[in-house]
Symmetry: D2
Subunit: 136 residues, 4 copies
Amino acid sequence: MIEQRIRDSFARQSMMQTLGAEFASVGTGTVTISAPILPGSRQQHGVAHAALSFAIGDSAAGYAALTLMPEDSEVMTAEMKINLLAPGAGDMLRATGQVIKPGRRLIIVTAEVHAITGEDEKLIALLQGTMVPVAA
Amino acid sequence: MIEQRIRDSFARQSMMQTLGAEFASVGTGTVTISAPILPGSRQQHGVAHAALSFAIGDSAAGYAALTLMPEDSEVMTAEMKINLLAPGAGDMLRATGQVIKPGRRLIIVTAEVHAITGEDEKLIALLQGTMVPVAA
Amino acid sequence: MIEQRIRDSFARQSMMQTLGAEFASVGTGTVTISAPILPGSRQQHGVAHAALSFAIGDSAAGYAALTLMPEDSEVMTAEMKINLLAPGAGDMLRATGQVIKPGRRLIIVTAEVHAITGEDEKLIALLQGTMVPVAA
Amino acid sequence: MIEQRIRDSFARQSMMQTLGAEFASVGTGTVTISAPILPGSRQQHGVAHAALSFAIGDSAAGYAALTLMPEDSEVMTAEMKINLLAPGAGDMLRATGQVIKPGRRLIIVTAEVHAITGEDEKLIALLQGTMVPVAA
């Protein structure tokens, strides 16, 4: 089952544990990952480091691609662009990855990263990139 | 002195400590940062997570920009694109950031990330992006 | 009136005339531009050149930003990334630009380019970039 | 012979003729293309349209990739990012494309675009992207 495969793969990504990241949801062509802004995930002004937004945005996009792949395939990021829209301040970050166009050789993906503060959510980063299938 | 300012700022970026990153060198318009591939910085196949290359590449590029800024300014990443060329396998990673075009409003930067194995070094990632000055 | 300002600016962009591009619609924070695939706008296989998708996608995104600017301002592209999803084949191309986040110093924009064939439309390119305000 | 193959392909790209673009040089893994700033290639302030820099930068990068491909292959742009550093003003533009990393599935490329005015040359755009091989 795809959700289990993705959870297994995620569990092996030690960087995700280091950052405290967790799956929030998995759907066909879309995956959501959340992460607290840990004391060890900050830049010099105390808000989330850009690398935290990148890490969970890229992973959400990659796992979104993986939901559409055959069982013997994995994906790798070929390239990713991130625009940072606002400081990563709040209770936690949440990244939602989405497949824009699946393909046999290239999978085009996007992700949005929101900072969550209580009931509020604010878009803080936008990612657009390319995943490539690799044999598992 | 610019090197001290940069080392102070770096020391306040807890994400850099989490990833074990260190300054390797600071020059005018160029900064080099190295990082081990810690057990907690990996993806599901045991090599460096793309977010590690992004983190040190983006920081090297940002601090390269900072070397050209007046004392009362800092910089922030507006956008960054990373192409991943090869898996991040080796003893450590080293990112070299460089200012391509300084400006009052936008500073265009690039960074290269190499994986170092003994005497060997292999280019594993290329970054191109924009830093913006902010009041310190 | 904003639509007139945009039409005047567009009329001065000789590249848009060269490519046969026209405004399809102008809304607050969104602009649509269409262009035929002229005999002189093609790549070596006879479909639309990537530069045509870029040209109308970038312009649609830039004018989308301009709809939100004060009268004495214009915008300039600081950076733009395009992912090409499918060949540009069809009767015409249509680019829809959208402002994701307006700002005093940076305006984050996206654009989608579709190829139109009769009633069909196919997403062929996705753009994500940054516009900067400049004094008119 | 590779130079002839590239000149033949270039001759079939009608967009290059529309923009007045010409090959300046072809080497292994690097290609240079120049273009005048034609009256029909401008933006609203009379300097070169960003799409002109994109068009010749992307083509120079693509043909640089093609110099490394077997005879029965062509390349296509998968994605390209452009940072615009300065207005495209001068006698002409010149784009130099370069292969950073060749590959069987992905070829990572960069390009620089300079504006030439008499003896002066000024870097006006930087591109970084991915080409994919396709059967000819």
